[in-house]
């Protein structure tokens, strides 16, 4: 089995009396989609933040590509190859769709401290940005102001910006929320093919999507991972059924 690209070991985080993450172990291996599911407030986003940076764990370590990144700032982790999408879209809202994508391409390429040639006329950046927009189905909206996009489209743009970073792992916090049936299916098909480029840690509420896409699933409940396994193992897991999935028919 290939070494994990991302390895979370014993991470805990509390906010006052609320324990959002308790001694979490989780890894993401090359070529896989690892879905992280759990009810609202389980601590999924909190875990993503500790992996991507911006929130320091109370204890535990995060290893990425063989390196301990626990103390690194967010920007450094992004440069090492973490491509993150936010649960609540976090884009430059005054920019056009294309500008946001170029921003990603620029951040990845570097050379930010250049003061003379227009960024939006840089053929290399534009090509990378347009390719990413095309991949998520936003090509025709490139001239739109980001604030004019629907919530679903903003999610797509988040994914597109992450693509421009050519990351070694994707960290996606509910990329399909608000997308509608058609958009969801399109994005699902895309993520399905994306895993071969870089593995994905996927937080998702849409169970159809999770059970179709995921190679492995981890179930987070009240800050604890109660099970990790293949889709079939998770479906069959009694604890998961009672704690989270309920007894309704599972997909």
């Amino acid at each position: 089995m290939a070494d994990p690209i991302l390895d979370v070991r014993g991470v805990s985080k509390s906010f006052g009396a609320v324990t959002a993450c308790r001694d979490i172990d989780l890894d993401v291996r090359p070529g896989e989609i690892h879905a992280l599911i759990g009810p609202n407030g389980a601590g999924k986003s909190t875990l993503i933040k500790q992996v991507a940076g911006g929130l320091a764990p109370d204890s535990g370590r995060v290893f990425f590509d063989g390196q301990d990144v626990t103390g690194l700032p967010t920007a450094a982790r992004a440069r090492l190859g973490m491509g993150r999408t936010f649960q609540i879209s976090s884009l430059a809202m005054e920019f056009t769709v294309l500008q946001n994508a170029v921003l990603g391409a620029l951040g990845h390429r570097g050379g930010v401290f250049r003061f003379f040639r227009p960024a939006m006329k840089d053929a290399g950046l534009l090509a990378r940005a347009r390719e990413a927009l095309d991949q998520v189905g936003l090509a025709e909206f490139e001239a739109l102001r980001t604030s004019e996009l629907s919530h679903g489209q903003r999610r797509q743009l988040e994914v597109a910006v992450a693509l421009t970073l050519e990351p070694k792992v994707f960290l996606m916090d509910e990329p399909m929320a608000g997308l509608g049936a058609e958009g969801s299916h399109r994005l699902m098909a895309f993520l399905d093919s994306l895993r071969h480029k870089a593995p994905i840690l996927l937080v998702e509420h849409d169970m159809d999507a999770v059970f179709t896409l995921a190679d492995r699933v981890s179930v987070l409940v009240y800050g604890e991972i109660i099970a990790t396994g293949t889709v079939d193992e998770i479906r069959a897991n009694e604890q998961v059924r009672s704690a989270y999935l309920g007894d309704e028919a599972l997909p």
Binding site: E94, G107, A119
Partner: protein
């Protein structure tokens, strides 16, 4: 050519036409007045790099305006008194050469801005406003209590500094120098605003998380922006000192910081040409209202309030019908 470009060119045209006409009509005072507007515009363009593009609300840009002014005052006073600036370990003489003075002013104010920025940018919001104000006040009191360079009374320079091939004491020739510098600064800032640096800085103003997620560090962008911002305002300070042939601690005062901010807000925050319009309007109001009442600042305050409340894009926002400069 879109409407905003047309307005920009019209504005530059008017600022060139007024002194030319005034010279023909033998009204040197109007030339000087327009020169004042041009210099204020440069100061405002400087602040706009921090405030407009980076969202850094500095209430301490008088620090850089003053450093630029004193760079001129110190160099020129040594030169006119035939006193070397430094004798040991190397001999450094004063100078009356404008280009050398500008370069010194730019470097000194850039260094000051780098130092103040490196400390202040660790804070944000109201704290940033207060700490930049505090640094400028420190320099203000320092200038007041520095007898070697005039203390409270400031420094008088008898003759304007020299520029090769020009008679700088002639108002229209000095205007031409300032106007040319304005064009150069506008050009460079407009380029930088569209360059990778400007794009990333603008993004940081809108959303720091986004900038970090694409692997960049907002603090560094801010620090570079603040340094450039201070350097431009410092250049304006040197020109202002030369215009008046006088430097005083009031260049460091918080009122000066406020006025520079007014140029930017009146004109339209975040637009390259905004401060030009703002400074022109400010000088116009200062002249017209100042003639009507000693308390003209009250009217200015009312106008400013109206702009902030009803026209967030400043004059340019009103004239172009757009709030921001993007997209």
């Amino acid at each position: 050519m879109d409407r905003e470009t047309g307005l920009n060119l019209a504005l530059l045209g008017v600022m060139l036409a007024i002194p030319l006409w005034a010279m023909a009509a033998d009204e040197p005072f109007l030339v000087t007045l327009t020169t004042r507007a041009v210099i204020f515009a440069i100061a405002g363009i400087g602040l706009n790099v921090a405030l407009g593009f980076g969202g850094l609300v500095s209430f301490g840009h008088a620090a850089f305006f003053g450093v630029g002014g004193y760079a001129m005052g110190i160099l020129a006073s040594h030169a006119q008194g035939y006193m070397p600036l430094i004798e040991w370990p190397i001999l450094v003489e004063g100078t009356k050469s404008m280009p050398v003075i500008w370069l010194t002013a730019i470097c000194a104010s850039a260094l000051t801005a780098f130092a103040i920025g490196a400390l202040s940018l660790r804070t944000a919001g109201v704290y940033f406003i207060m700490i930049t104000l505090a640094f400028a006040q420190m320099l203000y009191y320092f200038a007041i209590s520095w007898p070697a360079y005039g203390g409270e009374d400031g420094l008088s320079i008898y003759l304007r500094n020299a520029f090769p091939g020009l008679n700088t004491m002639d108002p229209i020739q000095f205007f031409a120098i300032c106007y040319a510098l304005l064009l150069a600064v506008l050009f460079l800032v407009a380029r930088a605003a569209r360059a990778p640096f400007g794009l990333m800085l603008n993004a940081a103003r809108q959303n720091e998380d986004r900038v970090q997620a694409v692997g960049q560090t907002p603090y560094r962008l801010y620090l570079v922006a603040f340094t450039i911002s201070g350097a431009i305002t410092g250049l304006a300070g040197a020109l202002f000192a030369d215009l008046n042939r006088f430097v005083s601690p009031s260049m460091f005062s918080w009122q000066t910081s406020g006025e520079i901010m007014v140029f930017v807000i009146l004109g339209g925050v975040g637009r390259v040409f905004g401060p030009v319009a703002g400074a022109a309007l400010f000088v116009l109001l200062e002249h017209v209202l100042g003639g009507v009442s000693d308390y003209w600042h009250i009217y200015l305050g009312a106008i400013l309030l109206a702009v902030v409340l009803y026209a967030r894009g400043g004059i340019f926002g009103i004239l172009t019908g757009r709030d921001t400069a993007n997209g």
